[in-house]
């Protein structure tokens, strides 16, 4: 049967770094050690002034093409997940098509999701491929949340970093699907748990007032309540068990939330991937950035991995894939 599979992933991070020492100097009630202990993050990468999601997306996509020895002409669809586009319009994916030299016959679109975005993108790529509409989909996630953070908001500045990841999803012949049907979830009543109010057309921006507001306890309650339910639904939908999964790669929100989720779900630590220490919470790129080193370990037997994205929207999605 024709099935979609995750072929390769490459990441791209900006050069700028925000260390715990720098944060501790600004917020004296938290030491650098306490920040590391509570968040699991040692440093975040921060885009420079004038460096945008599109720039990071280009870096990740070019790294992927080079790594795979792939000609841009072989990509027939581009999906770009970002909440920090260069412009209101045109679509960043269209600009990225030109920067990468993808064929003008390629489809390209942006979709606006945060921490659930990679899993949604994977589902869209799977659908395009398995319905015969595309053979090679370039799925790019890119965000620069640092540009939306109030300088004095300790709760968000300790967590978020900028970054991008490019994932090649391609058609292969296999005995069974390599990306199982994805389960989704949406609760717009929680829209204000994570929100940037200004800069759209409801509250036009006067300039430097596009600021992320996060209700930390609300997000925590959402995560602990909804993620286990989404996983139950995924297992019911796919007929699989937790034990069948060799690895679990969840959205790398922060070390504290991941630790609570792991314990609640009784997942052994050695199968629960935590890989955000040097990058922080990169929103839609956390899952592919954590998956990339697992893919490049290559030659071993195929492994089944559970992916769960959850966050702003509120929005969530869970998938079971073979890498």
């Amino acid at each position: 049967m024709l099935t979609a599979r995750i072929k390769a992933i490459a990441g791209h991070l900006p050069e700028g770094r925000l260390t715990n020492d720098a944060l501790a100097a600004r917020f004296p009630d938290w030491s650098a050690d306490k920040i590391l202990d509570k968040t699991g993050i040692a440093e975040r990468r921060i885009a420079a002034d004038g460096e945008t999601s599109l720039d990071l997306a280009e870096g990740a996509a070019k790294a992927l093409l080079a790594q795979e020895g792939l000609n841009p002409g072989e990509i027939d669809f581009l999906l770009l997940c970002t909440q920090t586009p260069d412009y209101v319009l045109p679509t960043s994916a269209c600009l990225l098509q030109a920067r990468l030299g993808l064929p003008t016959s390629a489809g390209a679109l942006d979709f606006n999701l945060g921490c659930s975005g990679f899993v949604y993108g994977l589902s869209l790529a799977k659908a395009l491929i398995e319905s015969g509409q595309a053979k090679r989909v370039l799925l790019v996630t890119a965000d620069t949340y640092s540009k939306l953070l109030a300088p004095d908001d300790q709760g968000v500045r300790t967590l978020f970093g900028d970054g991008a990841a490019a994932t090649l999803v391609e058609a292969v012949e296999a005995q069974a699907p390599l990306i199982d049907p994805v389960v989704f979830g949406t609760d717009g009543l929680g829209g204000e748990r994570l929100i940037v109010k200004r800069g759209g057309f409801r509250e036009p921006s006067a300039g430097a007032d596009m600021v992320l507001e996060m209700d930390g306890p609300g997000v925590m309650a959402f995560t602990l309540g909804h993620v286990p339910k989404a996983i139950e639904q995924l297992l019911a939908r796919t007929g699989r068990t937790m034990d069948e999964h060799d690895l679990f790669v969840f959205h790398q929100a922060n070390g504290f939330i991941l630790d609570r989720l792991r314990k609640k779900l009784a997942i052994p630590p050695e199968r629960f991937v935590i890989d955000m220490r040097e990058v922080g919470n990169t929103v839609s790129s956390t899952i592919p950035l954590a998956l990339a080193p697992l893919l490049s370990q290559g030659a071993g037997a195929p492994r089944r991995v559970m992916l769960v994205g959850f966050g702003v929207g509120l929005s969530w999605a869970a998938a079971s894939v073979v890498i």
Binding site: K38, G216, P217, M220, A221, R260
Partner: protein
């Protein structure tokens, strides 16, 4: 409620003997991280997800206990 007291003591980095129902939360570092930690603690020991805003408004440990009782009812 001793699991709650022990958990709160860990969150506030104080000895468990310093926590009682009468304890004023303002005497400890009752910041957003402590609130998030308490929310996760109550989920773990009581299987109850508290409303974050209601939890933030608690002034004493007894208020948290009352909120748990209300949510669990």
């Amino acid at each position: 409620m001793s699991a709650l007291f022990a958990g709160l003591a860990e969150i506030f980095e104080v000895d468990e003997s310093e926590i009682s129902s009468a304890s004023e939360l303002a005497a400890f570092n009752w910041d957003s991280l402590a609130i998030i930690s308490t929310l996760a603690l109550v989920d773990e020991i009581n299987g109850v997800l508290l409303d974050g805003q209601a939890l933030a408004k608690c002034e004493t440990v007894a208020d948290i206990e009352a909120l748990i009782a209300k949510e669990a009812a």
